[in-house]
Amino acid sequence: MSPTDQSTPIIEITDIVREFHGRRVLNGISFKVFKGDTMIVMGGSGCGKSTLLRHVIGAMKPTSGSIKLFGEEITTMDEQALSKIRRRFGMLFQSGALLQSLTVGENVALPILEHGKLAPDIVDLMVKMKLEMVGLTGFEHLKPAEISGGMKKRVGLARALALDPELIFSDEPTSGLDPIMTSVVDILTKELTRKLGVTALVVTHDMVSAFRIGTRMIMLGTGPNQGKLIAAGTPEEIRAHPNPEVQQFIKGEADGPVPFKLSKDDYVTRLLGHPRHQKTTLS
């Protein structure tokens, strides 16, 4: 296992805040990801994980704060400069986000054809190699609508790896995959990061997978800690973290600091009508 390079932060997030209609979805988040690291971003549903990821890839601009990729500030970058940065990373979307009008092979070939001038048979070979990596050889000619959700995700991963990126972003890479494929994707991520020095930022709910591949972890809070970083460290540090919300999350317990029934305290008031509670218009 090659140690991570602590001198070069590939991703450097400093105090980013994002507000939507006065609500802080991201609240002063700062962290660094070094070369060769696999950073896991955890947190309950709606805590802002995906929003954070969208900021890091430059799809959203923060209300304030700084985001540096490969040492360059992306929040103030124009589209052209951002394009150059984007060629250096790959992104696996939660749904795969394959282009429905193209075949599986064309989807994987797309970034190669768009950003390189290679002979068609080389491109063909590269596509086959990438599909082989995710166990989908022979599916080149199918359309995304003809394959399962898990397969789409694997094609999405093959496409993210098409240009041999230095950095990979994954949004829920193992959701919808069977246990065997989850292991395959985890091993693939591990090999890329440990052997080839690729850096990864993975947003996930899957704790088994997270502890299998992660070298660093952060967790975003919910409720009163919405959008704040409540824990950061190595997998061992996170396992031993004193924060009960972190423990509840990694152990997958139904009740704890995040209550089983979120609204149990004022259930009766809500049910019977409270002057400040907005009435629904269902009836």
Binding site: A59, R86, F93, A97, L98, Q100
Partner: protein, 245 residues
């Protein structure tokens, strides 16, 4: 509105400037879109134009017969088709058939993160998706219009020939002598303007979709309504400029 004009600017950039800076659009995709937008609309355009040519000839015959000038039916059919009804009707068909399809397709791509995926792969969606559709529409709508004009005149001929006892040669000669080249060109210019309006509105609406399937539905309806409205206003303005000044 600002975003719509920004999209227009981007289309100009990616069509005219970017290819000279080593970022060309896909020519093969332009032809693919020409088939989807234009060729597949041919049967519908033909049927509509034929029935309008037929109707025009019947209405003209009914009125002109009273004045005893039935021989003016071909003149009326050809001039109305070339100047107004040809470009207008074909544009209406293309709005309903192709403009709505473009909005729905781009909108679905937006909500299923395909557009975002393109951006993350450093592939500009305007270059990759919009420019081929714009060029295809700019070529195919005028082509469909000329085709519709011809089929409409065949519709007029069928009434004149079978119901009014015109011989074919007389019909053709009267149509061609009364309608001059400018009548045809003005129709083509109109259809070119309509093509730009229809496709830019369709793409703009598609790329701005938010909120899942419901958003796609709203955008598609909006695209058809706005395209029709703006196209009719543009038609009135162009008629005023071409024939009323």
């Amino acid at each position: 509105m600002k975003q719509y004009f920004a999209l227009n600017g981007q289309i100009f950039y990616w069509t005219l400037l970017a290819p000279f800076r080593g970022q060309p659009f896909k020519v093969a995709e332009v032809f693919h879109q020409m088939v989807l937008i234009g060729v597949r609309a041919l049967p519908m355009a033909a049927l509509t134009s034929f029935s309008i040519g037929l109707t025009l000839a019947m209405q003209a015959a009914a009125q002109l017969r009273k004045m005893g000038v039935l021989n003016f039916v071909p003149d009326l059919v050809s001039v109305s088709l070339l100047r107004e009804l040809g470009p207008l009707l074909i544009a209406v068909i293309v709005i309903g058939r192709s403009g709505s399809a473009v909005t729905a397709e781009l909108g679905t791509m937006k909500v299923s993160e395909e557009i975002e995926a393109l951006e993350v792969m450093a592939i500009n969606p305007v270059r990759f998706l919009v420019v081929p559709r714009v060029l295809a529409m700019l070529v195919m709508l005028p082509v469909l219009t000329v085709f519709g004009d011809c089929v409409g005149m065949v519709g007029g001929w069928s009434i004149c020939h079978f119901a009014l006892d015109f011989n074919t040669a007389t019909y053709i000669v009267r149509s061609v002598t009364r309608a001059d080249a400018w009548d045809l060109y003005s129709g083509i210019v109109k259809s070119f303007v309509f093509a730009w309006l229809i496709i830019t509105i369709a793409c703009h609406m598609g790329l701005r979709v938010e909120g899942g399937a419901e958003g796609v539905g709203h955008a598609t309806t909006g695209s058809v309504v706005w395209s029709l409205l703006i196209m009719l206003i543009a038609n009135a303005l162009l008629t005023a400029v071409f024939f009323f000044s």
